[in-house]
């Protein structure tokens, strides 16, 4: 079981390393969504500071949504996914390895890029560590939940819009707690409880998620 995990994990990381262009595009998309936002309002520091956490998390949500489309696509097209489904190895372990590799390759970008963007929106420096912590806890949750819907819509043409419809309602808790913690940190309210909840959600998504993803892959493959 461990061998399968590492094999899939290393394979997916290697593929991600070769497709650096995709990661760069995702990062650029995220930066653009957040950077364009002030152009839609004004440069008033108070306004920007008030909306900064929401803008950051909406940027993360949209970028993760876009990356979900390709999550199983290449594996499906080159037949690897069919091999996974037919193999006697537990599919949930394979799914877990794939998701962790995907998060390391793409989700980690948000943790790095977030602080720079937040400084541009006038968020004070001492809030940044907490903000990176929420990104580190929130983005894996988003990836694991989103992968369930991505697997279900695997063979559907033009699944992108449908994917957003399925996934965004499930993302509400991460959006609320993620931006709530940052807002709390900016105005000096206690936020530790919400960080613990985010950690709990992350653990829940990582432990239950792979089983649901495995079931969804089997269903989606038939669809």
């Amino acid at each position: 079981m461990g061998r399968v995990f590492w094999a899939v994990f290393r394979r997916d990381l290697a593929i991600a390393g070769r497709q650096r262009g995709v990661l760069v595009h995702q990062l650029l998309f995220f930066v653009l969504v957040v950077a364009l936002f002030p152009l839609g309002t004004n440069t008033d520091q108070a306004v920007l500071l008030a909306v900064a956490p929401a803008v950051l998390w909406m940027g993360v949500l949209l970028s993760v949504l876009l990356s979900l489309n390709g999550l199983f696509q290449t594996d499906h097209e080159d037949g690897t996914l069919a091999q996974y489904l037919l193999s006697s190895e537990p599919l949930a372990v394979i799914a877990l390895a794939k998701m962790i590799a995907h998060w390391l390759a793409s989700g980690a970008l948000f943790v790095v890029a977030g602080p720079v963007l937040m400084l541009m929106l006038g968020v004070p420096l001492d809030v940044l560590p907490v903000m990176m912590l929420t990104l580190g806890l929130g983005t894996p949750t988003l990836v694991f939940i989103g992968a369930i819907a991505a697997a279900l819509t695997l063979r559907l043409p033009r699944a992108g819009l449908l994917l957003g419809l399925l996934v965004f309602p499930l993302y509400v808790p991460v959006l609320i707690f993620g931006s709530g913690v940052i807002r709390g940190a900016i105005v000096g309210l206690p936020y530790a409880g919400a960080v613990y909840v985010m950690a709990a959600l992350c653990v829940l998504a990582i432990t239950l998620g792979p089983w649901a993803i495995a079931a969804a892959l089997r269903i989606g493959f038939d669809a």
Partner: protein
């Protein structure tokens, strides 16, 4: 066609060979049996639904005295509260059916989800609209980002997601199982969403009047409310049963039993 014939034969064999629970279970799984029997069961849901809802509406509109704080607006609650209850009940029922559909591969459980989703969504919509109408004179605005209304809105999106997914997948079996899994994932999320929304509204310190807040309920007000909830639940069962019959007929429109019943019957 061959599979379906085989299924019918298997049902007949199991009927003659063993009796008891297993036999009933097999019979329930048989499409023609369900199609015929559900027409008879419907009456046992329709009659209580009509009686309970009629009692709740008449009592709520006429016999219950006006609330000392809200006046007569609170009579909207006799629709709003049962609809809100039904929106949660319906989604939970879909998730339970989802477990049955995925574990035992019962076709009728898949059909239940497909039939229940639009009914549940429409009552969630009703809960939202009546909540907004009630909110205007009470809060002074149609929409307040109140914890309960916001959760109800997200729940509506969850319902719409199930409907959209079902409509997008061409194969009925795959669509049914996909919706089964989605409703299970959704139902795990419902309490988390509600908790997060409550936390979010307290962060704002927004002064929100509870829908039933302030005045404590006495029995005269409570009984019609409970009857309304019971009546809406029966109505939901009735509507879903009808939806299931239609779904079943559509799914098996090319099978022999449908031909026999509809074309020659």
């Amino acid at each position: 066609m061959h599979v379906r014939l085989g299924h019918d034969e298997k049902t007949v064999v199991s009927l003659t060979m063993d009796k008891g629970v297993k036999q009933r279970f097999h019979r329930l799984g048989s499409s023609p049996y369900f199609y015929d029997a559900s027409a008879r069961w419907a009456i046992w849901l329709a009659v209580p639904a009509v009686i309970c809802i009629a009692y709740a509406v008449i009592a709520g509109l006429v016999y219950v005295p006006p609330d000392y704080q809200q006046g007569d607006v609170f009579r909207i609650l006799y629709i709003h509260v049962p609809s809100a209850w039904l929106s949660l009940f319906g989604y939970t029922a879909m998730a339970v059916a989802g477990v049955v559909a995925l574990v035992w591969r019962l076709k009728l459980a898949e059909i239940f989800i497909a039939a229940a989703a639009p009914v549940g969504a429409s009552f969630t919509f009703l809960a939202l609209v009546t909540g907004a109408i009630w909110g205007e004179p009470t809060w002074g605005t149609y929409w307040v980002w109140d914890a309960r209304l916001t959760s109800e809105l997200i729940l509506l999106f969850l319902y719409l997601g199930v409907i959209a997914l079902h409509r997008s997948i061409a194969s009925p079996r795959a669509a049914g199982r996909a919706c089964a899994l989605l409703s299970i994932v959704g139902v795990i999320n419902v309490p988390i969403i509600h908790y997060s929304v409550v936390w979010w509204t307290t962060l704002h310190q927004g002064a929100t009047l509870g829908l039933t807040g302030g005045s404590n309920m006495d029995a005269d007000m409570l009984w019609p409310l409970l009857a309304g909830a019971l009546g809406f639940t029966c109505l939901f069962g009735w509507l879903t049963l009808w939806g299931m019959r239609v779904q079943l007929l559509w799914r098996e429109r090319r099978s022999r039993w449908v031909m026999k019943r509809i074309a020659h019957g």
